[in-house]
Symmetry: C2
Subunit: 409 residues, 2 copies
C-alpha cells in the first residue's frame, strides 16, 4: 500500500526510468486495489483552526469536513450523486437504524453499504449507542452493553462494543466509531464520571474487537461532560489505547452553545495533534464555525436535511423560513451567492408555492440548498485557514448573518 | 416567423451567398425569437398507428408522445431535468390546480409557467373542466360555465370558456385545451348528447376567446361518450371550427378498456388526418399501446408518477410491487433492460428497503423508473411504426408482459 508521501518517494527513485510510463501503470493499478492507507495530513493552521486532508482508499476528505447524515441508507430527499455535487466528501450512516432495518447482515450480503446505497466515497458510521439512548424503547444498560427494543417493531436487540464493531464491519464503514455511552446533560458529576469510565473500558473492548483492518479507521470518543478533569482523564485513556482519530462526544446534547464552546476551549487540545478530531452531532452554522475555530476537523448533523424538509433555509444572511407569505410573489433566489439548483433555477415564489403545496420537490430543493450552504461554508473555512485569514472570515461570517434576510419587495 | 419548410425555402434562395454564413446568423437569431409556428408533420403510418413530430417554438414533440403530469407546477418527486432525461418532450399542467394555487395571475407576474417551474420544453394545459368535476366542491353547471368551491380552502371560483382561455394564456401554455364538460360514464344518451352539444358551443367560445396566438396551439375536444353517432356529430362540429389538434375526451372515465377500444376503433378516424390526436388521461401501458394502434398521437396520465410513490413499478415483464417481501434480499435490478438510475444503480433489495422505510428516495427513484419505462415504450412504438413492424411490436409487448416478473431467488 502506498500513501501520497510514499508515492512521491517512489517517483523520485525511478528518475532513471521513463517515470511517466511507470506512473501510468500505477494509475491503472490504483483502480484495482486500495492504494491508500487511512491517514491524516494537517496542511495548515490559523490560530487553533486547522485544515488538512484525510486519505482513505475510497477518497480524500478535506477538513474541516461536514458530513451529511444518511440515516437509513439515504440522505433524505437527495440522490447520492446530488449529495456529492454539494461538495460532500463523506457521509454518516446510523448503525442503530441500519441494524434494525434492513439489518447489517443483509447489507453485507448485498455487497456492503456503499454499493447498497450507491455512494462510493467514504462513509463514517456511528456506534449505535447514542441513538439507542434517544430512540429505542425499554433500554437496559450494563457493563456488558445495552439491550433495547426496536422503535420500529418492538423486537429485542443487544449492542455491545463487540457487536457494534461487527455491525460496522458488516456495513463496510470506512470510519468506525467506538461504542460508548453518552449521558444527557445536565447530569451530576458522579454519573458523568462513571459513564465516562465505562465508555473508556468499552473503547478498549472496541479497539480489541476492531482488530487490524487496513484502509479502515477506528475513532475513539472522548466523554466527560462539561468537567475539564474528566475530559482530561478520558483523553488520556484514549491516547493510551491509540486510535486513528478522536471524537469529542457528549456535547450538543442540550447544554447550549456557550457551555459547548467552553468545553471546546480545552477539549480538542487534549487530543493528539496529528489525528482528526470529530465533534459529533454539530450543528448550526455558527456552532460549526465556533468549533472549527477551536480546533475541530469533522462534524455531522441532520440539521441541513431535516430543516430542508420543514422549510427552514440557511443562507449567508441568516435563516429564511420559506413558508412565510412574504415570499409568495418574490422572483428572487433564496441566496444570490449560492450556486445550488434551488438558487440557480427557482424563485422564492416557486419554493414557497411547492412548500405550501406539500410537493416533494420542496424538500428536494431545500435540502440540496442547505447541504450546499453547509459545504460552501466548509470550503470557505478551509480556504480562510489555508490563507491565514480565519479571524477575518469569522468576523465577516457573523456580520453578514447579522444583516438578516434581504428586504421584502 | 419561420417554420422548417420556410427555412428550407429560404436556404434555397440564397445559393449565391455564402449560405453557411447566412445559416450561422439565422442559428444565432433562433435563440432570440421563436422561429417555429405550431405544426404537425406525419412521418409514417403502419396500419392505423402514426408517428410524426409536432413542432413548437419551445421544441419538438415526437409522436406518439406520452406527457407526464405536472399538476401543481411539478411532476411529483422529480426534478424537471430528470423528467427531460426520461425522454419527455412535453408535460401537462393542470389549470384547475394552478388557478387555485399559486393562481394564474401570480404565475404570469413571475414570467409564466415554464420559467416558474424551470421547464423550457412545451407544456400542454388542460382546461380545468375535468378536474372541477372530479375534485371541487359545490359545483354548479350552467350554459355560461361552472362555479365551484376550491378543494383547498373552500373559496368560490368560476370557469367559463373565456376564463379558461385567459388562465391558460396567463400560464403561457403552448398547447391550450378547449373548456368542455365531460359526463361520467355510464350516463344515458340524452345526457351525453346535451353535454356534448354544450361542449361544442363552448369549443366555439374557446376558439373565439383564444384568438390568434402564433406559436401557441388550441386543441378541440371531441365528446359523445360511447355513442358513435354523437362522436361523429362532435367531430364534425370541431372540424367546422378548426383546431390545431383534436382530443378524444370523455374516455378513461370508468368505462373499461374494452369499451374504450371499441370507441377508439372509430373515433380517431373521424378527426383530420393532418392534425395531432390526443387521448386524454390514458393510461396503463396496454391502454397506451392499444390507443396508438388505433391512431392516437398523444396521451397523458398520472399513473407512472402516482404509482412510483405507492411502490407499483412498470417493467417490460409486467407490474412489480416493490413492497413485497420477495424483494428484500434480491440484488437484481427492477428491469434489466432499463437504463434509468433506479435500475442502473440500485438493487430491488435497496428499493424495497427505502420503500418500507418511507424514504423520499423511494418515490424519487420509482417515479423516475416508471416515467422512463413509459418514454421507452413510446420510443419503441415510434421506431416500430417508422420501420413498419408495429404489429410485431404489439405481439412482443404482450408476450413479454405475459411472462410476468422474474422468478424470486
Amino acid at each position: 500500500m502506498l500513501n501520497r508521501l510514499d508515492f512521491q518517494d517512489l517517483t523520485g527513485s525511478v528518475a532513471g526510468w521513463d517515470a511517466k510510463f511507470f506512473l501510468g501503470i500505477l494509475g491503472k493499478l490504483r483502480h484495482l486495489v486500495p492504494m491508500t492507507k487511512f491517514s491524516y495530513s494537517l496542511n495548515a493552521t490559523d490560530g487553533k483552526a486547522r485544515t488538512g486532508v484525510i486519505s482513505t482508499p475510497r477518497g480524500e476528505i478535506r477538513t474541516p469536513a461536514f458530513m451529511p447524515v444518511g440515516t437509513a441508507a439515504t440522505v433524505k430527499a437527495m440522490m447520492p450523486e446530488s449529495v456529492a455535487a454539494t461538495g460532500a466528501d463523506i457521509l454518516l450512516g446510523n448503525t442503530y437504524h441500519l441494524m434494525l432495518r434492513p439489518t447489517a447482515e443483509r447489507i453485507e450480503r448485498l455487497g456492503g453499504l456503499h454499493k447498497f446505497m450507491n455512494w462510493q466515497k467514504p462513509i463514517l458510521t456511528d456506534s449505535g449507542g447514542f441513538q439507542v439512548m434517544s430512540l429505542a424503547g425499554l433500554r437496559k444498560l450494563t457493563e456488558e452493553g445495552v439491550t433495547f427494543s426496536s422503535h420500529i417493531d418492538g423486537s429485542k436487540h443487544k449492542i455491545t462494543p463487540e457487536r457494534s464493531m461487527e455491525i460496522q464491519r458488516l456495513l463496510g464503514s470506512d470510519i468506525v466509531m467506538c461504542f460508548d455511552e453518552c449521558p444527557a446533560l445536565p447530569a451530576d458529576k458522579k454519573r458523568i464520571e462513571e459513564s465516562m469510565r465505562m465508555s473508556m473500558r468499552w473503547a478498549q473492548r472496541s479497539r480489541d474487537a476492531f482488530g487490524d483492518r487496513p484502509g479502515h479507521a477506528l475513532f475513539g470518543i472522548m466523554q466527560g461532560g462539561l468537567e475539564e478533569d474528566l475530559r482530561g482523564e478520558s483523553a488520556e485513556a484514549l491516547r493510551d489505547i491509540e486510535f486513528d482519530g478522536y471524537a469529542v462526544g457528549g456535547l450538543a446534547v442540550g447544554e447550549g452553545q456557550e457551555k459547548m464552546f467552553n468545553c471546546l476551549d480545552y477539549a480538542p487540545d487534549m487530543l493528539p495533534v496529528d489525528k482528526p478530531r470529530y465533534l459529533m452531532g454539530v450543528g448550526k452554522p455558527d456552532d460549526i464555525v465556533g468549533a472549527v475555530a477551536r480546533g475541530i476537523d469533522m462534524m455531522d448533523c441532520v440539521l441541513p436535511s431535516r430543516s430542508g424538509r420543514t422549510g427552514q433555509v440557511f443562507t449567508r444572511k441568516g435563516v429564511v423560513n420559506i413558508k412565510n407569505a412574504r415570499h409568495a410573489d418574490d422572483p428572487r433566489p433564496l441566496d444570490e451567492a449560492c450556486a445550488c439548483p434551488a438558487c440557480s433555477n427557482y424563485s422564492r415564489a416557486y419554493l414557497h408555492h411547492v412548500f405550501r403545496s406539500q410537493e416533494m420537490i420542496s424538500g428536494m430543493l431545500l435540502t440540496w440548498h442547505n447541504l450546499r450552504y453547509f459545504q460552501d461554508l466548509m470550503q470557505d473555512m478551509r480556504d480562510a485557514i489555508a490563507e491565514g485569514r480565519f479571524a477575518e472570515f469569522e468576523r465577516n461570517f457573523h456580520e453578514t448573518r447579522a444583516q438578516g434576510d434581504i428586504e421584502p419587495l
